[in-house]
């Protein structure tokens, strides 16, 4: 069964074997991992410069943390991200810019200033989002959340078969996006670990990720420092990098194509190692036993 699919982001086209690093850039004061380190716009711009230097293929800019918290309305979300996207675009004309938002109003504003990808982390909560991507020729991430309300935690959710639920939800959303005018090669699917899922669900999705990578759509995974890693290893935020990287390697072996991460350098190494083992990328330099 063929894994992955050709993916188009901005002006770039990536083959099914590409493994891309999407660096998280939070314009939030309260995200779980970085605790507001790039809340100030200049600090966020510094982070963009750093991750680009580290080899990130794209950045994912978000103005609202995923967990419950103070309500951020669309106006405030736009204040946090639109001007910032504009500055990033001006400074990095070739960088693929993603914005993490579920609101079509915000998506329209960021696409107008140069965003290439709308990362709809809340599973189509705003049904108009694909029409914005279509209007601007942008790419779109469709996610599985089990239908929960944005910024809520899963509580006592059960599925007969979580992977089947993910599969049918993502296929429905992806086909709907295409029917609304989003170019087929610009649609990405994300099972959304920990969104609408307990740790058992996220582990099963990881174990059976090949059932998603063979659907004919590029798969994005967002694993970085999440609770399913923490609960698997009994480790708090701040001590989950090794576990994150192990999960990253497994998803890479299954054929995921985009990795939304905090740590770019480590992720790049893991992905390159998997690509090299898979025979999809030559080793960097080989001399041992060959001189």
């Amino acid at each position: 069964m063929t894994r992955g699919a050709v993916l188009r982001l901005g002006r770039n086209e990536y083959p099914a074997t590409a493994r891309l690093v999407m660096a998280i850039v939070n314009r939030t004061p309260d995200s779980f991992y970085d605790k507001g380190i790039s809340w100030a716009e200049d600090a966020a711009l510094d982070r963009v410069r750093m991750v680009v230097d580290q080899g990130a293929d794209l950045v994912d800019i978000g103005g609202i943390k995923a967990a419950p918290g103070a309500e951020i309305d669309a106006e405030e979300e736009k204040r946090r991200v639109v001007g910032f996207v504009e500055r990033v675009r001006a400074e990095h004309p070739d960088l693929v810019i993603s914005v993490d938002t579920w609101r079509s109003e915000v998506a329209r504003a960021v696409c107008a200033v140069g965003a290439d990808l709308i990362n709809d982390a809340w599973g189509g909560a705003d049904p108009e989002l694909p029409s914005v991507a279509a209007e601007f020729g942008a790419s779109l991430v469709c996610t599985h959340t089990g239908g929960v309300t944005p910024r809520t935690r899963p509580h006592r959710i059960e599925y007969d078969d979580v992977v089947q639920d993910v599969r049918s939800s993502l296929l429905r959303q992806a086909e709907r996006a295409v029917s609304m005018g989003v170019e087929r090669e610009r649609v990405v699917i994300d099972p959304a670990h920990d969104f609408g899922k307990n740790t058992w669900h996220s582990l099963e999705v990881t174990r059976r990720l090949d059932e998603l990578t063979t659907l004919g759509w590029p798969v994005l995974v967002s694993l970085s420092n999440k609770d399913f890693v923490g609960e698997s290893l009994d480790l708090p935020v701040g001590e989950r990098l090794t576990g994150t990287l192990a999960a990253t390697a497994l998803c890479a072996w299954h054929g995921a194509q985009v990795y939304r991460v905090h740590e770019v350098v480590e992720t790049r190494q893991v992905l390159d190692l998997v690509s090299v083992v898979a025979g999809e990328l030559p080793p960097a330099r080989t001399v041992r036993g060959l001189a």
Binding site: L281, P282, P283, R285, T286, L290, A291
Partner: protein
């Protein structure tokens, strides 16, 4: 009509299937290809004859590495391989001499490309670790090439060379026998390097 002899390395990292994203052998390969191309052009030869050793440890069914590397370098140089002379890597000097004296080798209307290396024991990190004797033997090999002295090559000791992982002694002696007594034989260029503990040689000798 002149006949040239070109010495090129037999290192597998010269082959595309062993090349990583950064090509560790780019400069060496370019130098070897240029030497083959220039010699064949100077000779006005229709092609080249490869002189190669068998692999020291034959594990599969593929032709010897030396033959594959030589053929690849010839292809990059844009010259045809018209023949391959294969000598056992551990053949006694007398056997090498007899092979080189055969008309098919010495008087072929083709440039000889000898695929050969010096010792692989030239450092702590070398494939065969460090053996201090390697330097003198390699110097004797290089000195004979620089002096265009076939008898110097034929005097290399097969047992010592085997000990020092010199993977070019036998084919060099075959070529030396083919050149012996050739008037006007001269070394045009002898380049040697050992960044990985193995002596790689790119050399061109020519007889008018």
């Amino acid at each position: 009509m002149s006949q040239s002899v070109v010495v090129v390395p037999s290192a597998p990292f010269l082959l595309p299937e062993y090349t990583g994203r950064t090509d560790a052998a780019a400069d060496l390969r370019a130098r070897a290809v240029a030497a083959v191309r220039d010699a064949a052009a100077a000779d006005g030869a229709s092609g080249v004859v490869l002189v190669v050793a068998t692999d020291r440890e034959q594990r599969g069914t593929r032709p010897p590495l030396g033959q594959r590397v030589g053929a690849h370098l010839a292809a990059l140089a844009g010259v045809a391989v018209e023949g391959v002379v294969t000598v056992a890597w551990d053949a006694p000097a007398a056997e090498c001499r007899a092979l080189g004296e055969q008309p098919a080798v010495g008087s072929a209307d083709a440039t000889l490309v000898v695929v050969a290396d010096g010792s692989a024991r030239r450092g702590e990190k070398a494939p065969g670790h460090l053996d201090e004797r390697a330097f003198a033997v390699d110097e004797a090999l290089l000195g004979a090439l620089r002096a265009a002295d076939p008898e110097g090559l034929l005097a290399l000791d097969p047992v010592l060379c085997a000990d020092l992982l010199v993977h070019g002694r036998a084919p060099l002696q075959v070529a030396a026998a083919a050149l012996a007594g050739r008037p006007g034989l001269a070394a045009l260029d002898v380049h040697a390097e050992d960044p990985f503990g193995v002596l790689h040689v790119v050399a061109t000798l020519a007889a008018p």
